[in-house]
Symmetry: C2
Subunit: 251 residues, 2 copies
């Protein structure tokens, strides 16, 4: 019998169901899709580093100032006594460790699945991020808010409230978000199916759905932003997120 895997995620007191982090959603969708027993442990931003060190997880990367970057999502799997961070690496681990569960990386596509297709379509500055930073801050608990503000303000060198584009700038940038989804749609049209591999759901769809659902969490179902996104490309993005609802249980 497979023992319960722990998924470490960042909580929100506001988002229905608590879970909002797009990268953690990639892993949660995968765990549910694979039918692997799991539970979530909630970790606030300032505690991520200590939690990773406690679990023996290596930093995901090094920041440009040389400091180590520890990140969530992470999992601890008691079946193999393994701790892993980074959503792609976690799902790859699940694919390899539990080969008899439904696959998200069909044979031979592991490397092809690792492409950050979403951010590639968005371009190097990922315009959607600027719209999401302040709403992300707002949905966090106070301890995480403080930490999040200090990190983002160091990176962007302006007050958190000034990162979001306003007026005409916002319009131009939102148009670029639409163009990115159009580009993604071009990839999907090549496949001819609802998924990037045609009829077969794979990791790259989960990644794109998670990032789209993030916008819904941040801005709300009734926001103009979410309404825009689900109106683009014949409703592809809303349908993609909906098709994963049955794997959206938060344990």
């Amino acid at each position: 019998m497979i023992e319960t895997i722990t998924l470490y995620d960042i909580p929100s007191p506001i988002v229905p169901g608590i879970a909002w982090s797009p990268n953690a959603w990639k892993v949660r969708y995968a765990l549910n899709y694979k039918g692997l027993p799991h539970k979530t442990e909630w970790v606030e931003y300032p505690d991520i580093k200590d939690k990773c060190i406690e679990l023996g997880i290596e930093p995901t990367s090094t920041r440009s100032d040389g400091s180590l970057y520890y990140s969530i999502p992470a999992i601890y799997d008691p079946n193999t006594k393994s701790s892993i961070a980074d959503s792609y690496r976690i799902v790859l681990y699940l694919e390899r460790t539990y080969p008899n569960t439904p696959r998200l990386m069909p044979k031979g596509t592991e490397a092809l699945q690792s492409f950050p297709l979403y951010s590639h379509a968005m371009g190097p500055d990922i315009p959607i991020l600027k719209f999401n930073i302040l709403p992300t801050f707002r949905l966090l608990n106070p301890r995480s808010q403080e930490f999040y503000r200090s990190v983002r303000e160091k990176i962007h060198r302006v007050k958190l409230e000034e990162i979001e584009p306003k007026g005409e700038k916002a319009e131009v940038m939102w148009k670029r978000v639409k163009e990115s989804y159009d580009k993604l749609d071009g990839y999907y049209r090549l496949s001819g199916g609802p998924y990037l591999m045609g009829e077969t759901l794979s990791y790259v769809d989960i990644a794109i759905a998670s990032l789209s659902a993030w916008i819904r969490s941040l801005h709300g179902k009734d926001s103009d932003k979410w309404k825009d996104i689900i109106s683009w490309n014949d409703g592809r993005w809303g349908r993609l997120v909906e098709s994963l609802e049955k794997y959206a249980t938060i344990n």
Copy 2:
């Protein structure tokens, strides 16, 4: 019986075997791998636009100044009376039109194969390009040279001779080329095989091999640049190009 497909390519009087264009090589490797009868027709740079219009090929894209960009490689397939430009689109066409020939885009991976992995690894400014512009100019016929110079100098806003980095700048930029290959190597290591899909050769390998072989054509087999590249990542890139030599016949 399949009638002979025409591949339109740009000639060089210097490169052994005449063919040097990396994008045309992607198509040539594919035609040979699939065993499709084909012949090459050589087109000089200033004649590409007229040739495309004659064949009824749409421009590949629009330049930032609004002018239409016609490009080679292109093919004319008398079996279906189709003319197509752009290496990915041509290979996708061959996959769909000749499904009983060896596949380069295994089922479901058509869209995943379209990802420009090489330029993604290189980053938005693709550092190798700056090293390749002057050598590309040098291997062309005079008519193409004149055209190539005028286009590049308009894009880069400096004399062709000044595009290539020199001294310390060149060292830094070449280090970035190595880092890009290291990144590509990381993708290949995920697959565990000589190819990005493991043991299965696919379009993305052909694209990476074509771009690597381009550096060999431009700088020569005995150049430091080529020697560097084949020494990186345990010799992966030399082996990849070698593994395609049997599909490198120029018809």
